[in-house]
C-alpha cells in the first residue's frame, strides 16, 4: 500500500478531508419509506389480480399447514431424542473411549513423525491431510459459486450491483484503521507462520489477513486494497497456491502410499523452519484463504475487482 506523503502530512495536520466534496453518502436522496411501501403494495396487488390458474390455492395452503405441523412435531421429537441420547453418553470431561491408540500415537509420536509442536496442525496437515485438501477445495468451490452468481461480465446490466455506501471518507474509521491495520496484518502473518508451533495455521491466519485487507478497503477505498490485490494478483495467487498445494500433497501421498523415501524431512522440532511440508502448506493455504475472502467481499460489494 502506498501512502501519499502529502496526504499523510495533511492528515497529520488535521486538515479537513480533501475529498469531502465527493462524499457520496449525503448526495443520494433516500426516498421516504412510505412511498416504497406503496409501490410495493401496488405491485403485489397487480400480481394478485392475475389469474391463479388451476392450482387451488386453498388446498395448497392446507397442505402447507399440514406439512408445517408435521415438521414441528418432528423437530420436537428430534430434540427430545437427542437430549436423551446425550444423557446416555459418558460423563463430560472424563477420558473416555475416544482416548485410544489413535490419540496416543498422535500425541506421543506426532512430534517425531510430523515435526509439528502443535499437534492439531500435525493432524490436519499430515495424518489427515486428505480431509484438509478437500476442505481447501470446498473453499475454492464456494469462491467459484460466488463468482458465478455475483461477477459482472462486460455489458450485463450492473445497476443492482452498485453499492452506495462508502466509508472511505470517515475520519474516525480512517484514523483507527491506521493503527489497527498493521497490528492485524502482523498478527495474521504471525499466526500463519507459526501454525506448526503455536495455535493457528493457514486457515485462521489467512482469514485474519483477509479481514485486514477488507478493513483497508473499507477505510481507504478500493484503490488502496486494489494496489495490494488486483484481479490479476488474485487469479495468480489462487492458481499458484492451490496448484502448489495439490501437487505437494499428492507427492507426499504418493510417496507415503508406495513406501518411497520422501525428500521432505521434519527438521528440528520447535524451530520456525521445521515441520516438513507443514510450513509451506500453511503459507499456501493462507494465501488462498486471504485472497478468497477478499475476492468474495469484492464480489458482494461491487461484482468486480
Amino acid at each position: 500500500m502506498k501512502i501519499d506523503k502529502e496526504k499523510f502530512s495533511a492528515w497529520l495536520n488535521t486538515d479537513p478531508d480533501r475529498l469531502s466534496g465527493m462524499e457520496e453518502m449525503a448526495e443520494i436522496p433516500y426516498p421516504p419509506r412510505e412511498r416504497i411501501k406503496e409501490k410495493r403494495h401496488e405491485l403485489e396487488e397487480r400480481i394478485d389480480a392475475q389469474p391463479v390458474g388451476q392450482i387451488s390455492f386453498l388446498s395448497r395452503k392446507f397442505w402447507h399447514r399440514l406439512y408445517t405441523v408435521f415438521a414441528v412435531i418432528c423437530c420436537a421429537v428430534m430434540t427430545v431424542v437427542l437430549l436423551s441420547t446425550v444423557a446416555a453418553l459418558p460423563r463430560f470431561g472424563e477420558a473416555r473411549d475416544a482416548i485410544n491408540e489413535l490419540t496416543e500415537r498422535y500425541i506421543v509420536s506426532g512430534l517425531k513423525e510430523t515435526g509439528a509442536v502443535n499437534i492439531v496442525a500435525g493432524i490436519i496437515l499430515d495424518y489427515r491431510a486428505f480431509d484438509t485438501l478437500g476442505e481447501s477445495f470446498v473453499l475454492f468451490c464456494a469462491l467459484n459459486c460466488v463468482l458465478i452468481l455475483l461477477r459482472i461480465d462486460g455489458d450485463e446490466d450492473a445497476s443492482h450491483h452498485e453499492l452506495y455506501f462508502n466509508l472511505a471518507h470517515d475520519d474516525i474509521l480512517r484514523k483507527s484503521a491506521l493503527f489497527s491495520i498493521p497490528i492485524v496484518f502482523v498478527y495474521g502473518i504471525y499466526v500463519l507462520l507459526n501454525g506448526h508451533l503455536s495455535p493457528g495455521g493457514g486457515f485462521s491466519g489467512g482469514a485474519v489477513i483477509g479481514a485486514g485487507i477488507i478493513l483497508l478497503s473499507i477505510a481507504y477505498g478500493e484503490r488502496a486494497s486494489g494496489a495490494l490485490i488486483s484481479e490479476k494478483v488474485f487469479k495468480t495467487v489462487c492458481f499458484c497456491a492451490l496448484a502448489f498445494y495439490g501437487v505437494a500433497k499428492s507427492y507426499s501421498f504418493f510417496t507415503g502410499a508406495n513406501h518411497l523415501e520422501s525428500i521432505i524431512k521434519p527438521g528440528t522440532p520447535g524451530e520456525i523452519l521445521s515441520g516438513g511440508l507443514i510450513l509451506p502448506l500453511n503459507i499456501a493455504v493462507g494465501m488462498v484463504v486471504s485472497c478468497t475472502i477478499y475476492g468474495m467481499y469484492r464480489m458482494f460489494k461491487k461484482g468486480r475487482f
Binding site: 423437530c75 446425550v86 460423563r91 482416548i99 489413535l102 492439531v120
Partner: protein, 127 residues
Amino acid sequence: MQGLLNNFDEAAAVILFCIGFSTLLFHRNMLKKIIGLNIMDTGLYLFLASMGYIRGAGAPILTDTEVINMADYINPVPSALVLTGIVVSVSVTAITLSLTVRLYSKYRTLNLDEIYAIARRTEKEEF
C-alpha cells in the same frame, strides 16, 4: 435429568443444533435461515469439541518436547475435525448469501413465501 446435567456442554450443543435446525427449516427469511445454518453448525462443532475435552488436561500443543505425558493433553482429533468443519460452514454461508443477493435483485424481497408466490403467479409454473 442427572445425565443431562453431567453432560451440560453436550446438552447445550444439542439445544443449539436444534434451534439452528428449526430456524433453517421454518424461518421464511433468507438471512435468518443463513444465521440459523451457522448456529446449527457451531452447535455441532461445540458438541464435537466438548467430547474431546478432558478435565485438567491442557491444549494439544507440546510444552515439553522431550518427555510427553499423555494425560497432559486433551484429545486433539475433535479440534482437527472442527477446523475442517468451520471452513465448510463459511463456504456454505458465502454461497447462500450470494444466492440471497441474486434472489433479492430479482424478486425484491427476502421472504421465501413471497418469492414463491411471485414466482408462481408471474411465471405460471407450479412451484
